[in-house]
């Protein structure tokens, strides 16, 4: 890939709403990404392997659980800071952001929110530094959009639980030390369990053949009579609402991340349009290309405003799940359109690994599906405004 010349774009001067510390956090994440990730991301995506040597650095820039309180190894930052970090990571690659989102929102968040003090003390500091990585097992081969139907289950054996079942499409699974697994008890109630690598009967085969999110490792979680110590059950919350609460946090980060991917493609396309000469002038001087670029920055600006406001609401504890769904859905649609237009502006160069556009385009096919598909988020908004459940 070429030198990473990325510059942020802030058409409505929204930086004025950020604190100096927010800006420093964003600048730090951006500088780290440019130094450590941009030079290697294309090769990682080609090889379909997550660059594990980045984990320590991700921990150092605060990408793992930035909003977790400092007493548990987090940075105690607000939701805007979390969003900004996710935006900078996804600006480079959705796979990089996915690794951090899963660790922060799907592993650290449930342990912090639903775990007891011993669990928090045992896991959170190591997860914050990246010494340990975690994954989140909700989806199953036959239960994707409908996780409530899951088959994975555990039985109370007196001094331990016996876990059986299988999870599929699990980010970070191949290298994670721990998995937060959602399974039904004998009464059919969903609970979260922390399963550790090394427990007998627990395996994590890698899934191959992805054309999307190639720089992130995805695997299965297979539980064959795994004995899980009783102290590994998350006591704080049960029922489908427990995993859905984690998804709220992750989806919020994805809403920011999608803006990052869009900004990167806009930035590349804008620069290219000023440099590429056809018919004797820069292609950016033609109205058709200006239409694409002008619409891109308009849509990015709208998404930035929507998402910043959502961050404020989350800081105040007032953001609803439906509001988060709206932002995730809107920003993914926005980013996909921008990436597609950017690819066209780059002509044939746009399909090569010289530019990040195709990689972003392929990545977003996962992002628009995981953490609730595009359709499911629409149904959530639909139900919220009409009161009718159109899921079933």
């Amino acid at each position: 890939m070429r030198t990473d010349l990325y510059q942020g774009h802030d058409y409505y001067l929204m930086d004025e709403w950020l604190t100096e510390e927010h800006k420093l956090i964003r600048e730090t994440a951006r500088a780290w990404v440019k130094k450590e990730v941009s030079p290697i991301i294309e090769e990682a995506a080609e090889k379909c392997k997550f660059p594990e040597h980045l984990l320590k650095g991700l921990g150092e820039i605060g990408a793992f659980g930035p909003y977790i309180p400092t007493e548990y190894g987090g940075a105690g930052l607000d939701q805007i800071a979390y969003g900004l970090i996710m935006q900078e990571l996804e600006r480079c690659d959705s796979g990089l952001r996915s690794t951090a989102s899963v660790q922060s929102s799907l592993v650290m968040y449930p342990i912090y929110k639903y775990g007891n003090e011993e669990q928090r003390k045992k896991y959170l500091p190591k997860l914050a530094s990246g010494e340990w990585m975690g994954c989140f097992g909700l989806t199953e081969p036959d239960f994707g959009s409908n996780p409530g139907g899951m088959i994975t289950n555990f039985k109370d054996m007196g001094d331990h639980y016996l876990l059986n079942g299988a999870k599929m499409w699990i980010s970070n699974a191949p290298f994670a030390q721990i998995a937060v697994v959602w399974a039904k008890n004998e009464q059919g109630r969903i609970h979260g369990l922390i399963v550790e690598r090394g427990m007998e009967g627990f395996t994590t085969p890698t899934m191959h053949g992805k054309w999307s999110l190639r720089a992130s490792d995805t695997g299965e979680l297979i539980f064959d009579n795994v004995k899980v110590p009783k102290e590994n059950l998350l006591p704080g919350k049960n029922g489908l609402g427990a995993p859905l609460g984690c998804l709220d946090s992750a989806r919020y980060g994805i809403a920011w991340g999608a803006i990052g991917a869009a900004l990167d493609c806009y930035d590349v396309a804008l620069r290219y349009s000023k440099e590429r000469i056809q018919f004797g002038k820069p292609i950016g001087a033609f109205q058709l290309q200006q239409k694409k670029l002008a619409e891109m920055i308009t849509e990015i600006t709208k998404a930035q405003l929507l998402t910043y406001r959502l961050g404020q609401l989350r800081n105040e504890g007032r953001a609803t799940s439906a509001q988060i769904s709206m932002a995730k859905r809107n920003n993914l649609a926005m980013a996909k359109q921008i990436i597609s237009d950017a690819r066209q502006i780059l002509g044939a160069m746009g399909i090569t690994g010289e530019y990040p556009v195709m990689r972003h385009m392929m990545n977003l096919e996962s992002v628009i599906t995981y953490e609730g598909t595009h359709d499911i988020h629409l149904l959530i908004t639909g139900m919220d405004i009409t009161g009718f459940d159109a899921f079933k």
């Binding site: 510059q7 100096e20 510390e21 800006k23 420093l24 956090i25 600048e27 730090t28 500088a31 780290w32 130094k35 150092e60 820039i61 605060g62 930035p66 400092t70 940075a75 105690g76």
Partner: protein, 246 residues
């Protein structure tokens, strides 16, 4: 080692350069400021490395208004122990050098680090003036420094080669490229910077010795000229008559 690092701000390299007040002032409107790279990447980071191996403290000093604070917080996030801001509008080099010297006088700094220049005005004169005002040895454009006790071995580039110098503390040094590698602050550093001391001191009495009469931008680049092989002779004529390069 008690080290002072002078930190200046500079516009981000992608900034659009424009002037105001009848072309006598740099127009800061919409400009993003960064820590002057020579101060950050080379002077500050090398000072921190020295502190990490030999112990001691690293204090940063900036001469400027309240708008300097994000820059200073970044230096603290990278690892400086404390910071001082002399509350003054930056004026000419001698004025800034006098502020630095007046602050540093009698405080017992072993080394005063500066960057070799700021990337906006490229004056390269403040560190030399500071050394003169404090009556200290000065090594300019250094790209390597090692310390043994109070003796520093310093390398600097000279045309076509390298010069190795020895100097005893205290001294003033201006850091050039190669002295250290960029250090990106980490989250722990950013959090620690919140509570590190940043003292604001009043400017000492000093006057600027020069006034700016005007700035102008370099002439716009003219495009490429192609010369076909058959007309190679034209090249000599153009270089001679138009570019005046021969």
């Amino acid at each position: 080692m008690k080290i002072l690092v002078c930190i200046s701000k500079a516009p981000d390299t992608t900034s659009k350069i424009a002037f105001s007040d009848n072309n006598t002032k740099f127009d800061e409107n919409g400009v993003q400021f960064i820590v002057n790279p020579y101060d950050e990447w080379y002077a500050l980071v090398r000072a921190l490395e020295i502190k990490e191996t030999l112990g001691g403290t690293v204090t940063t000093l900036s001469v400027g208004g309240a708008d300097y604070e994000p820059i200073i917080r970044k230096a603290l996030a990278i690892g400086a122990d404390d910071a001082v801001r002399i509350d003054a509008a930056e004026s000419d080099s001698l004025y800034v050098a006098k502020q630095i010297a007046n602050y540093a006088k009698g405080k017992g700094f072993d080394i005063i680090f500066c960057g070799k220049e700021t990337i906006n005005y490229n004056g390269s004169v403040v560190p030399g003036m500071v050394a003169e005002l404090l009556d200290l040895p000065y090594v300019a454009l250094a790209h390597k420094i090692d310390l043994a006790g109070n003796t520093a071995t310093i390398m600097r580039e000279v045309p076509g080669g390298e010069e190795v110098l020895e100097v005893n503390t205290p001294f003033v040094l201006s850091a050039a490229k190669g002295m250290a590698e960029q250090r990106i602050p980490n989250m722990r550093g950013i959090m620690a910077a919140r509570t590190k001391p940043l003292a604001v001191e009043a400017a000492s009495a000093a006057d600027a010795s020069t006034t700016v009469k005007g700035y102008s931008l370099p002439p716009a680049k003219s495009g490429c000229k192609y010369i076909t092989p058959e007309n190679a002779g034209d090249l000599i004529r153009i270089l001679h008559e138009e570019a005046k390069a021969l």
